[in-house]
C-alpha cells in the first residue's frame, strides 16, 4: 500500500515538474510582436539595476555614505560636474553613488518582501482552501480587510510598530511591505485550490490515503502556482513604490544604514524650493525606470500567459462564447 502511494507520487511529481516548466517557458519562447518587445525592454532595464545592485561597490565612484575622497571634502549642493556626475546633496554625499547603492537596497527589500508574501500567502491560501470551514472564513475576512485597507497606511503602521522593536533596517521595511501583498496571493491561491480540489486526481489521492500535507504539497501546489509569477513581478514593481513611499515619509530604511531613493526624495522637496534639481531628479528617475522595467516584464508575461489576451501571429485567439455572454446580449437586445 505504502509502496503504491510512493510510486504514484514520484510519477506525478515528474510529470508535474516537466509540465509546469513547459507551460511557463513554452509560451514565452513562442512570444511574438509586442509582448516580446515588452519582455526584452523590461528585462533590459531590470538587468541594469540588478548589475548596479550586485556590483555597487565597484560601479559607484564613492561609497554611499562618503562625504570626502582622498582627503578632499565634497561640496554641499555641488552642481553636477566631472567629479560628481549627479552632483552632491545637502549632507555632502555623492548623488550618483546614492542612486547606485539605492538599487541594492531596493532589490534587497523587494526580493525579501515578495518572497515572504509568496510563502505566507501561498501556504495560508492552500490551507484555507483545502480545509475550508471556520478557519477559512476567518482568514478570508482578515485578508479582505487587509486588502481593502489603503496599502501605504498599512505599511506605515506596521513599519511604525516594528521600528520600535526590530529597528529601521531592511528587515522592517521588507516585513511592512509583506503585509500589504499577502492578501493577493492568498486570494488567488485559495480560489484555485477550491476548484482544483474537486478534480478526480485529488479525490484519488485522498482515496489512496495520502495525508493532507502530501495532497496540498504535491497535487494542489503545482496547479495553483501558475498565476504566481505574473502577480509576483507586478507586485515587485509595486513594492518598489511602496518602499519609496515609506522612505519618503520617514518610515523606511534609516539613512545611515543604506542608501534609499525615497528618503533622498523627501529631502529633495526642500531643495526644490532653492532651485536644486539634481538631488531629486536622479533618485526619482531610478525609481521610475526600475518600476517601468518590472511592469513591462509583468505586462509581457501577462499578455503571453493570459489566454484571453493572448494572440499568436497577430491574430486574436477566439474564446468559445460562454453562456453568460449570451445572456448579456439577450439583456441588451431586450432593452432596445
Amino acid at each position: 500500500m505504502t509502496a503504491n502511494v510512493g510510486s504514484a507520487e514520484v510519477g506525478t511529481t515528474q510529470a508535474r515538474g516537466g509540465g509546469l516548466t513547459r507551460r511557463l517557458i513554452g509560451p514565452i519562447r513562442e512570444a511574438h510582436g509586442l509582448p516580446k518587445v515588452l519582455l526584452w525592454v523590461g528585462g533590459g532595464l531590470f538587468a541594469v539595476f540588478v548589475i548596479c545592485a550586485i556590483f555597487a561597490p565597484w560601479i559607484a565612484p564613492y561609497s554611499f555614505d562618503a562625504t570626502s575622497s582622498g582627503g578632499k571634502q565634497f561640496p554641499k549642493y555641488g552642481h553636477p560636474s566631472a567629479a560628481h556626475w549627479f552632483g552632491t546633496n545637502v549632507t555632502n554625499h555623492d548623488v550618483l553613488s546614492i542612486v547606485i547603492y539605492g538599487a541594492r537596497t531596493a532589490l534587497e527589500v523587494v526580493v525579501l518582501a515578495v518572497l515572504f508574501s509568496v510563502i505566507v500567502g501561498v501556504v495560508l491560501g492552500l490551507i484555507s482552501g483545502y480545509y475550508g470551514g471556520w478557519l477559512d472564513r476567518i482568514l478570508v475576512l482578515i485578508m479582505d480587510a487587509l486588502f481593502a485597507f489603503p496599502y501605504l497606511l498599512l505599511a506605515i503602521v506596521v513599519a511604525f510598530l516594528l521600528a520600535g522593536k526590530v529597528g529601521g533596517g531592511v528587515m522592517t521595511a521588507a516585513l511592512s511591505i509583506t503585509v500589504v501583498y499577502v492578501p493577493q496571493y492568498f486570494r488567488v491561491v485559495r480560489n484555485s485550490v477550491l476548484s482544483a480540489k474537486q478534480e478526480s486526481y485529488v479525490e484519488a489521492a485522498r482515496a489512496l490515503g495520502a495525508r493532507p500535507r502530501t495532497i496540498m504539497g504535491r497535487y494542489l501546489f503545482g496547479n495553483v502556482i501558475q498565476s504566481v509569477p505574473v502577480i509576483a513581478t507586478l507586485n515587485a514593481a509595486d513594492a518598489i513604490l511602496t518602499l519609496a513611499g515609506l522612505g519618503f515619509l520617514g518610515y523606511g530604511i534609516q539613512p545611515g544604514d543604506a542608501a534609499e531613493w525615497g528618503y533622498e526624495l523627501s529631502r529633495a522637496v526642500t531643495d526644490a524650493g532653492a532651485g536644486i534639481w539634481w538631488t531629486g531628479l536622479f533618485p526619482g528617475l531610478a525609481i521610475v525606470l526600475l518600476v517601468v522595467g518590472l511592469t513591462l516584464i509583468g505586462e509581457g508575461l501577462n499578455d503571453i500567459l493570459n489566454p484571453v489576451l493572448r494572440r499568436r501571429f497577430g491574430r486574436l485567439v477566439v474564446m468559445p462564447a460562454r453562456p453568460r455572454s449570451q445572456e448579456v446580449a439577450g439583456d441588451v437586445g431586450g432593452e432596445r
Binding site: A145, P150, Y151, L161, G164, A244, G280, G284, E299, V328
Partner: protein
C-alpha cells in the same frame, strides 16, 4: 432592489467591526499601552502610572476594546496628546483631503476615459501603444517625484503656480475659519480673488494625485472596451448597419462602464494612500499630513482615531459603489 440594498447595508456592520478590531489589535495591543510607548523614559514612573490610569489604560484589555468600539460608534475618537479632539481634526483636515481627492478624481476621469476609449477601439495601434506607455509611466512615477518635478517646472522655473499649501496665508482667514473646503466656500461666497488663489494652489496637487489614478482609468477603460467590442451584440449592431461611432458609444461603452465603476471603488484606497504622499509633498493641510505628524510624535490615540476613520471610509465607499452598480446593472441585484 430593496432586499439587495438592505442586505448590502447590513453587511457594512461586520466589515467595519473587523477592520476596527484589526486597528485595535495593531495599535493598542501590539505596542502595549500608548502612554508608556510614547512617553516611557521621559516621565517618572509615578507620573506615567497616573496618566495611564486617567486614560483608562490600566483596565483589562477587553474592557478597553468595548470602550473603543463604543466611542467610535458614538463619533468620539478620543483626544490627541495636545488635548485636541481627534474628531475635530478629522473633520477639519479631512475636508481638505476630500477637496483634493475630488479634483484629482475629476482630472483622472476627464483625461483617462477618452484616452482609454480610443486605445480600446484601435487596439495595438499607435495611439494604443502611447496610451499604454502613458499608463505605465504615470503608474511608475511616485506621486512625490511627479510633484517635485512640477514644483521645479511650474513654480521655480516658470513661476506660474505656488509651490505648496492650500491658500495664501493672507487670504486664509478671509475665506474660511472652519473646515478646509476652501474651493467651495470661496465659490459660494463669490470671492473671486480668493477663488483664483485657491485654484492656483489646487492645480499642482490635484494633477499630481490625479495622474496616479489616470493610468488605472486608462487601463480599465481600454480592457473593458476591448472585451465588450468582442461581444455578439456589438457584431449584431454592426450587422444592422449602425455607424461605428454609435456602436462604440452606445453599445460598447455603456457596458464597459459597469466594471469600471466597481474597480474605481477599489481605487479609493489607492487615492487615500496617494493623498498622504501628495499632501506631504505639497504641504497640503489634509488628514494624511496630520497623520504623519502624529506618527512622528508617537501619538497612538490620534493615529488610532485617524486610521479608524480611514477604515470606515473604505467600507462606506465600497457600499456606495455597490449601490451605484446595482442601479447600473440589473443583474447585480439578483
Amino acid at each position: 432592489m430593496r432586499a439587495y440594498l438592505v442586505a448590502r447595508i447590513l453587511l457594512v456592520i461586520p466589515m467595519v467591526w473587523i477592520l476596527l478590531t484589526l486597528v485595535f489589535l495593531l495599535l493598542r495591543v501590539a505596542p502595549g499601552d500608548p502612554i508608556t510607548a510614547a512617553l516611557g523614559g521621559q516621565l517618572p514612573p509615578a507620573e506615567l502610572a497616573r496618566r495611564r490610569h486617567a486614560a483608562g489604560f490600566d483596565r483589562p484589555i477587553i474592557v478597553q476594546y468595548f470602550d473603543y468600539l463604543r466611542q467610535v460608534v458614538s463619533g468620539n475618537l478620543g483626544k490627541t496628546q495636545q488635548g485636541e479632539s481627534v474628531t475635530h481634526v478629522v473633520l477639519v483636515n479631512g475636508s481638505a483631503t476630500l477637496e483634493l481627492s475630488i479634483f484629482a478624481l475629476l482630472f483622472a476621469l476627464v483625461v483617462g476615459i477618452p484616452i482609454g476609449l480610443r486605445c480600446g477601439r484601435r487596439r495595438d495601434g499607435a495611439f494604443d501603444t502611447f496610451g499604454r506607455l502613458f499608463g505605465i509611466i504615470t503608474y511608475a512615477a511616485p506621486v512625490f517625484f511627479l510633484g517635485l518635478l512640477f514644483q521645479l517646472l511650474f513654480t521655480k522655473k516658470l513661476g506660474w503656480l505656488p509651490p505648496s499649501g492650500q491658500v495664501s496665508s493672507t487670504l486664509q482667514a478671509e475665506i474660511s475659519d472652519g473646515p478646509h473646503l476652501l474651493f467651495f466656500e470661496a465659490l459660494f461666497k463669490g470671492d473671486m480673488t480668493g477663488l483664483s488663489d485657491v485654484v492656483k494652489h489646487l492645480i499642482l496637487p490635484a494633477v499630481t494625485l490625479g495622474l496616479l489614478i489616470t493610468g488605472v482609468v486608462i487601463r480599465l477603460v481600454r480592457v473593458n472596451v476591448i472585451q465588450t467590442l468582442q461581444g455578439d451584440y456589438v457584431e449584431a449592431a454592426r450587422a444592422r448597419g449602425i455607424p461605428e461611432r454609435r456602436v462604440v458609444m452606445r453599445h460598447a461603452f455603456r457596458n464597459a462602464l459597469v466594471p469600471i465603476v466597481t474597480v474605481m471603488g477599489l481605487q479609493a484606497a489607492l487615492l487615500l494612500s496617494g493623498s498622504v504622499l501628495t499632501e506631504e509633498t505639497f504641504n497640503w493641510p489634509g488628514i494624511g499630513n496630520r497623520l504623519i505628524q502624529y506618527l512622528q510624535n508617537r501619538d497612538y490615540l490620534a493615529v488610532q482615531g485617524i486610521i479608524s476613520v480611514f477604515a470606515i471610509v473604505v467600507v462606506v465607499v465600497s457600499l456606495l459603489i455597490d449601490i451605484v452598480n446595482a442601479i447600473l446593472d440589473p443583474r447585480v441585484r439578483y
